[in-house]
Amino acid sequence: MTEKSKGLTRRQLLKSSATTLAVGAAATAKAATVVGVPAWVPFDHNGPMHYDTPGWQFFTAAEASAVEAIVARLIPADDLSVSGKDAGCAVFIDRQLAGEYGTFSRLYMQGPFEKGTPMQGDQSELVPRQRYRLGLAGLEGYCQKQYQKSFSALAPEEQDKVLTGLDKGEIALDGIDAKLFFQQVLGNTMEGFFADPVYGGNRDMVSWKMIGFPGARYDYREYIGLHNQKLNLVPLSISGSSAWTKKG
């Protein structure tokens, strides 16, 4: 699922994602007749996840450095945690975009597309891959025009100013609604920071340690009666805990 063709026009993008959708649909579940007890295959529906391969699967190098710079400002390094970049948020977003989420292949994306009322939700025809590709290109264009630099080369204060402008809709980007792009990136960044580390973000369960969320635990019967006290539970990931794999 690598798609590094940076020079695609919006029309080509729409066309290529439509093809992906059709292929995705053909590969969905098979009809089955179930009589008696169905056979059970361990992890049949829950294949082990691998997100630790190096490199970028969706982003170009330039896009990746822009996204890394953005997530490092949305979640800056401070006394409470490492930055969103060091927590793996950009890797998380890259892997999500490379997967089925990137094309919204599960969602209803038939037209006609209309803006609708504020009560009718997200009606954009752009799927996440397009939102990032167009948004990052627009951001590059804006920063070059305004600062003669890429976003990643700006000083942190300048980066914050640009991000605030996108957030408030004060900056317009070519090719995409700036607020839609910002909300998409902010939402995915928070997903990456707080999701289970198996998806590539939240490295070393940094966000869970920060807020005191014990992670993928499934039994609190011993703790439910301990009211109004800090439990200091070591967080666990779906893939376990470093304590489990320590040698000696």
């Binding site: 649909a25 579940a29 098979k30 009809a31 089955a32 007749t33 179930v34 009589v35 008696g36 007890v37 169905p38 295959v41 361990p42 049949d44 529906h45 829950n46 800056p76 401070d78 989420y101 599960r106 969602l107 209803y108 994306m109 038939q110 209309e114 609708g116 009322t117 504020p118 009560m119 009718q120 939700g121 997200d122 914050d160 957030d167 902010l186 928070m190 997903e191 707080f194 999701a195 289970d196 966000s207 869970w208 920060m210 807020i211 005191g212 969320f213 992670g215 993928a216 635990r217 499934y218 039994d219 609190y220 019967r221 439910i224 009666g225 301990l226 009211h227 109004n228 006290q229 779906i238």
Partner: protein, 587 residues
């Protein structure tokens, strides 16, 4: 052209709560039954494995258990003057998919509707007369509490509902919900344990003179063998509950209570990943002859049957009836037709409280763990002079706090940057919320119909929802949220943030999957679609079962009543219809 298969006794469309219950009951009559399910077969060990079930990204954010909107969604608008647009990802509500349906990812709160609910229009007219707003199209259900109670009890025993009765055979019970109808027996299991937030709320409510009770829970409080002999494990309060499948066999769903028994019966077959396209009718229009479905290779098959039971989620129940030409489509302009009328929802309100000195350990909990009061629900308080009817179930239910979505911040806090992070850390464990899940009353202009523009992958029109909160419900929401605010204030939070549903229905934020109506039950075929046995008026071998039968929605979660109606329909088929097939009620 669909290829015709050999006929069977019964087809059941949808293997969630309603379909699984009915199929199992009818299988005990020796009938040959085929159950159709548009999604996959789901199984706790394989699908909700404890090693990977606690995954917020997959289940909560990416909605892995829910129906893919690509396969089927609804279009939405607030009024007839707007153009409906498709709900492209689920927001306001979460329809399920696969065996177990939405009953896999539900919260597990299992209320019974109160006795007056089943004759709501008559009851409120008697009590308030002309005060009742002409805006509302409230109706009686055509049944009553005495007829419903045995089936609620059957469901309690099936699901192992855990709670404390407030009224057993008319005798009020200390510690239970004293506003409930007289039940024939205590809950099968005692209440679950409680976290700090509901206990704190219950103390505050008690100090103000209210009577708190444990929220009735289909997450079982102890090891339980249900009425069909299926074993369930005790809830472990893992907090991956609402929107997740349960890895512990603790949350009752069709897959943990019925299907393990049903699938072993030789006269039952499940057809999964098979989408039913329509009900076939004979030329008279008075008899269903079976269904047509499409398998995942895109091949169409006709499955003839003597008896057809439609028990999908509300939206698909109503859409299948519209697509199959069963009943006359409702028209809000002429106020004629029944298919699609009296669509209603649930009015969700809350008061959030931020504290400095408390630690709620919010990650511990479950969808139905909590304490509630009922003083402001339905008609439990005098509405004279208030200008509205209805009310809500007030409660604190810590459902878990996986942090992608559960990061409460006070209004005005930044959404990113260092200050955002500080506020997130400060408030994560010290915030709680009191919810008020309130009634939603039907009006002439809220209804379901086929969309003129948007189609599903088979080229069939999507279902169109035209809905906004009625003035009555907005007034009610403001009132009950004010009452909840008084309790919140007595708990001395640093800050409290009330949120009353006083504006338009917004399709984006999750509110609840408590959607009702559109193919309602009643005593008169002029204003209802099914009789009190869930049998379609004028088509006696067709039954449509689900929350689609509710004429309006009280301030309670619907699942217990959906299941009770399923048992009621199955009982009527077993004890009446099979002996004398035909209309069980003639008018």
């Amino acid at each position: 052209m669909a290829k015709k298969l050999p006929s069977t006794d019964v087809v059941v469309v949808g293997l969630g709560w309603a379909g699984s219950i009915i199929a199992n009951e009818l299988a005990d009559e020796g009938l040959k039954i085929i159950g159709f399910e548009r999604g996959p077969w789901r199984d706790t060990a394989a699908d909700f494995n404890v090693a990977s079930a606690a995954d917020e990204l997959r289940y909560n954010r990416r909605q892995d258990l829910m129906l893919r909107t690509r396969q089927n969604t609804t279009t939405i608008r607030n009024s007839v003057t707007e153009t409906a647009l498709p709900m492209r990802s689920w927001g306001s509500f979460h329809p399920g998919n696969g065996t177990g349906g939405a009953g896999n990812h539900w919260a597990g709160i299992t209320f019974r509707f109160q006795p007056h609910e089943f004759r709501l229009h008559s009851y409120l007219t008697e009590r308030y007369g002309k005060e009742l707003s002409p805006e509302l199209t409230l109706q009686d259900w055509g049944t009553d509490w005495e007829e419903m109670e045995p089936f609620y009890t059957k469901f309690d025993r099936l699901a192992g509902v855990s709670g404390k009765a407030g009224n057993i055979k008319g005798v009020i019970q200390e510690g239970g919900n004293t506003f409930e109808g007289a039940r024939s027996e205590e809950y099968p299991n005692p209440p679950t344990e409680q976290t700090y937030a509901p206990v704190l709320f219950a103390e505050a409510a008690k100090n103000l003179g209210y009577k708190p009770f444990p929220v009735p829970s289909a997450l079982v409080s102890r090891p339980y063998v249900n009425s069909l002999g299926v074993a369930m494990g005790p809830c472990t309060y893992c907090g991956f509950c609402t929107n997740y499948g349960c890895a512990n066999y603790s949350k009752a769903s069709a897959i943990t209570t019925v299907l393990p028994v049903l699938i072993r019966k030789p006269n039952f077959t499940a057809m999964t990943n098979c989408e039913v396209l329509r009900v076939t009718m004979d030329s008279s229009g008075k008899r269903a002859t079976g269904i047509v479905y499409m398998d995942s290779n895109g091949e169409e098959w006709e499955q003839p049957a003597d008896l057809v039971v439609i028990s999908a989620f509300i939206f698909e129940n109503v859409r299948l009836m519209l697509l199959s030409g069963v009943g006359q489509p409702y028209d809000p302009v002429t106020n004629t037709g029944t298919t699609g009328r009296n669509y209603a929802y649930q009015t969700a309100n809350s008061v959030r409280m931020f504290f400095d000195d408390k630690n709620f350990n919010p990650f511990i909990g479950g969808g139905a763990i909590g304490m509630g009061i009922d003083e402001f629900n339905n008609d439990n308080f005098d509405h004279s002079g208030l200008g509205f009817v209805g009310g809500g179930s007030t409660r604190v239910t810590p459902i878990g706090a996986a942090p992608i979505d559960s990061r409460p911040l006070p209004p005005g806090a930044p959404a990113w940057g260092s200050e955002w992070k500080k506020a997130t850390v400060k408030n994560y464990a010290s915030t709680m919320s009191i919810g008020c899940e309130a009634s939603s009353y039907a009006t002439r202009t809220n209804y379901l119909s086929l969309d003129p523009t948007y189609k599903d992958p088979h080229g069939r029109p999507l279902l169109r929802i035209t809905f906004d909160f009625p003035e009555n419900d907005r007034k009610m929401a403001a009132y009950v949220t004010g009452k909840v605010g008084e309790i919140a204030k007595s708990m001395n939070p640093r800050q409290m943030v009330p949120s009353a549903q006083t504006g338009h229905w917004n399709s984006s934020p999750y509110q609840s999957s408590h959607i009702v109506g559109g193919f309602i039950m009643g005593a008169d075929p002029k204003n209802s679609s099914v009789n009190k046995y869930l049998q379609v008026w004028g088509v006696p071998n067709l039954f449509v079962v689900g929350s689609s039968a509710f004429p309006q929605n009280p301030g309670y979660n619907p699942t217990g009543t959906v299941a009770a109606l399923a048992f009621k329909a199955a009982d009527a088929i077993r004890t009446r219809y099979l002996k004398r097939p035909g209309e069980m009620i003639s008018v």
